[in-house]
């Protein structure tokens, strides 16, 4: 077979290609440089054609890793991530990663091989109805059975993945479509203009009304969500906050959309948000929700959520409006465009009464803050993360797993620049961190990337250590090792009378595990050893794993127990290591 042109031609001259080549040519045309995948029988034609195209393929150790890598790649760069798997188990292994991306609105295009169209529905070897399986966890999906449809379907998939509220799209391509030939013309395969959403209408009246509410509010708060990053509205939100001295509370996924070191930044809200954030929300008279969806982890019990506040919801997805929290004004559309319409009508104002009141709320909490507690020989995860933040000057991309360490990261690592915290918020997928970090490092090779994972979650996908080495990636890994599935243990402590059913977990020696992969590592047991180990990791140009043996039964505070109001928090006991239940009173 002769070499075929690798990159789509400028001219509209169609080229005769096989379907597998059309896949790569279309990806290249869409600007894809890196993909994550795993070959197999039904996708072999696509892997065979790869060598002709200037696209880096990262071989994963499990397809779940491919989806998470594409996800991390997308969250770090803002581009569409691409994951590839074969039919049957290759496709089903992608499912957890696709659902993770769906819940967090991350644009992915997942390509799966499928058995030949003539055999569809016959239970052929490695046949699975992956479009049926992924129907509720994709924004859209396709089965392609003819080579001539591949380019237009893939281009439409990219458009759907990144437009509106982003999300994953799956394209299932039968083997005969990969092997068949068709004319390829990248330009001619352009998708028709995406249907505008007839319900997208931030009307003039509503915008005026919202502006009046914002100008009239005495105790406003901006709720900063993931939509700020997706819309690129970081500057607009900051301008709005600064003009009227509006404090900004972040959702978990909104962290990094507003600089944490900014004087108006409150930090994370919700179940494990700092006390002052949730107290401020409860006292507020206006919530300006920017690209967030009032998740149950954010609101606490709905009946008592921000009872005195009017609510303005700026959101691109109309189905999120009034879903959990009834709002007074919904502005449906692109956040940046809407804020740009509002901002010219907002003149700067110098009333700092409210921000002073909010800052006063911080005073009490700081006493309980674990990082201000004396070092009694205990190594706390919060210490580790706080030190890691200082050592990296808050500039690293931190990719977390799910659980206690994830909440401590959100509390103690101060993110100042956008897209520097990558975490699975909606689905809460354990095992996310390592593969997502691989994707983030490939998207941003010049950035320092840290994995923070618990001992439980890390074991779910630790096979990707091998991928780290094969791809020669300089990723640093902090395992927060407490010998428990920590968040499960914490809930069992608080809500199941300390019955630690199946939450103690045995781990291998993570340093030896790293060593088996050719990765250097160290175990840290004392606070004094944290910074030297972190500096050793940073100083090396190779991956490095630190196994932090932390306090076994520490808990994340504050905590809003399920079914409680936002200001009914379980607070950290002030002596630090003797957890007692405590509830704050309304100040």
């Amino acid at each position: 077979m002769t070499e075929k042109p690798a990159i789509p031609q400028e001219s509209s001259q169609p080229t005769r290609l096989i379907g597998a080549e059309i896949v790569w040519a279309t990806l290249a045309g869409e600007g894809v440089r890196d993909v994550f995948g795993y070959p197999g029988g039904a996708i072999l034609p696509i892997y065979d054609a790869l060598r002709k195209y200037p696209i880096r393929h990262v071989l994963v150790r499990h397809e779940q890793g491919a989806a998470h890598m594409a996800d991390g790649y997308s969250r770090a760069s803002g581009k569409v991530g691409v994951a590839i798997g074969t039919s049957g188990p290759g496709a089903t292994n992608l499912v957890t990663g696709i659902a993770t991306a769906m819940m967090d609105s991350v644009p992915l295009v997942c390509i799966t091989g499928q058995i030949s169209s003539k055999l569809l529905g016959t239970d052929a070897f490695q046949e699975v109805d992956i479009t049926g399986i992924t129907l509720p966890i994709t924004k859209h999906n396709y089965v392609v059975t003819r080579a001539q449809d591949i380019a237009s379907v893939l281009r439409e998939a990219f458009l759907i993945a990144r437009s509106g509220r982003p999300g994953p799209v799956l394209v299932d391509i039968t083997k005969d479509a990969q092997q068949g030939t068709a004319d390829f013309d990248f330009e001619a395969a352009a998708p028709h203009p995406h249907r505008p959403h007839p319900m997208l209408s931030a009307e003039h009246d509503a915008i005026c009304e919202a502006t009046q509410l914002i100008l009239g509010a005495k105790r406003p708060i901006i709720l900063a969500g993931h939509g700020i990053l997706d819309s690129g509205a970081m500057d607009q939100v900051r301008t709005l906050a600064e003009r009227l001295h509006i404090p900004v509370a972040s959702t978990l996924l909104g962290i990094s959309a507003f600089p944490a070191s900014h004087e108006l930044s409150l930090g994370m809200m919700g179940m494990h948000g700092e006390a002052w954030v949730n107290q401020a929300i409860q006292q507020s008279d206006l919530l300006i929700a920017c690209g967030m969806r009032f998740d149950d982890r954010v609101t606490g019990v709905l009946a008592s959520y921000a009872p005195n506040a009017k609510k303005i919801h700026i959101e691109i997805d109309p189905s999120e409006v009034n879903k959990n929290v009834k709002v007074d004004i919904a502005l449906i559309g692109d956040l940046r465009e809407i804020l740009e319409t509002i901002l010219p009508q907002i003149a700067p104002r110098k009333d700092a009464t409210w921000i002073r009141a909010v800052n006063a709320l911080k005073g009490d909490a700081a006493v309980r803050d674990i990082k201000n507690l004396p070092d009694l020989g205990h190594l706390y995860a919060a210490h580790v993360i706080h030190d890691l933040w200082r050592a990296t000057e808050g500039r690293a991309i931190v990719v977390t797993d799910v659980g206690q360490h994830q909440m401590w990261e959100a509390q103690y690592y101060k993110h100042d620049s956008p897209r520097t915290l990558i975490t699975s918020g909606g689905l809460g997928t354990m095992g996310f961190a390592l593969p997502a970090a691989i994707g983030a490092k490939i998207a941003c090779p010049d950035k320092e990337v840290w994995v923070i994972a618990g001992d439980g979650g890390f074991q779910m996908t630790s096979s990707e250590l091998s991928t780290v080495m094969q791809e020669k990636l300089n990723i640093n890994i902090a395992v927060i090792n407490n010998g428990f599935l920590g968040m499960v243990r914490q809930w069992q402590e608080f809500m199941y009378e300390g019955n630690y059913s199946c939450s103690p977990i045995l781990s291998p020696d993570f340093v030896k595990l790293a060593d088996a992969h050719g990765i250097a590592g160290a175990t840290v047991r004392k606070r004094a050893d944290v910074l030297p180990a972190v500096e050793a990791a940073r100083g090396s140009d190779k991956p490095f794993l630190i196994n932090f043996m932390v306090e076994k039964e520490d808990a994340v505070y504050p905590m809003i127990a399920p079914g409680s109001a936002l200001d009914e928090m379980i607070r950290r006991p002030s002596n630090g290591h003797n957890p007692l239940l405590e509830t704050t009173e309304e100040p």
């Binding site: 479009t131 509720p136 924004k139 001539q148 028709h192 203009p193 249907r195 007839p198 009034n322």
Partner: protein, 201 residues
Amino acid sequence: MLHTFVALVEDKPGVLTRVASLFRRLNINIISLTVGHSERSDVSRMTIVAEAVPGSGHRIKASLFKLENVLDVDDIGQLSCVTRELALIKVAATPLTRGPIFQLAEIFRARIVDLAPESLMLEITGGASKIEGLIQVLNEGENQILEISRTGRMVMRRGQHTSRVLDAMRLTSPEEEPVIPITASDEASLEVFSGDPNHPL
């Protein structure tokens, strides 16, 4: 309460599953769902009647719009519209016992569409209450109902109202557009919207 939606959807494989799956995901029971051709060869029309709490109409409509194959959705609510359903009812009846059924058919403006020695078949069109009325009186009578098949509700709004989307489609297609069966490769020709995509029609 009952919510009624009219959805215009692309006529492609799997679209019905996507719509039905959405209701399943929202844990909403579908009372009836009818699908058929619309005035355009590439667009199907669904009437969906679902039991859901009051006030959930907006979210169901918005969620339907999130499906890529859905072109337009109308939440009928309390709007003035014509609602029709068709039912076929097979009743056990011998030549001796047919008489009363013929009378009932006349009262209900049903038609006898099949007559056999042991049974007959009625066809009735109308609102749900009319059909249920006929079924009730048949049940109260001597003759046993053998089978009932109902189409589920179809709805069309009264007056000038027409889908904005289909209006737009008419504008974009030439008057003498030849009727060609749509195949997957013709997707690009399915131009739902023309002109400025930022300007909702």
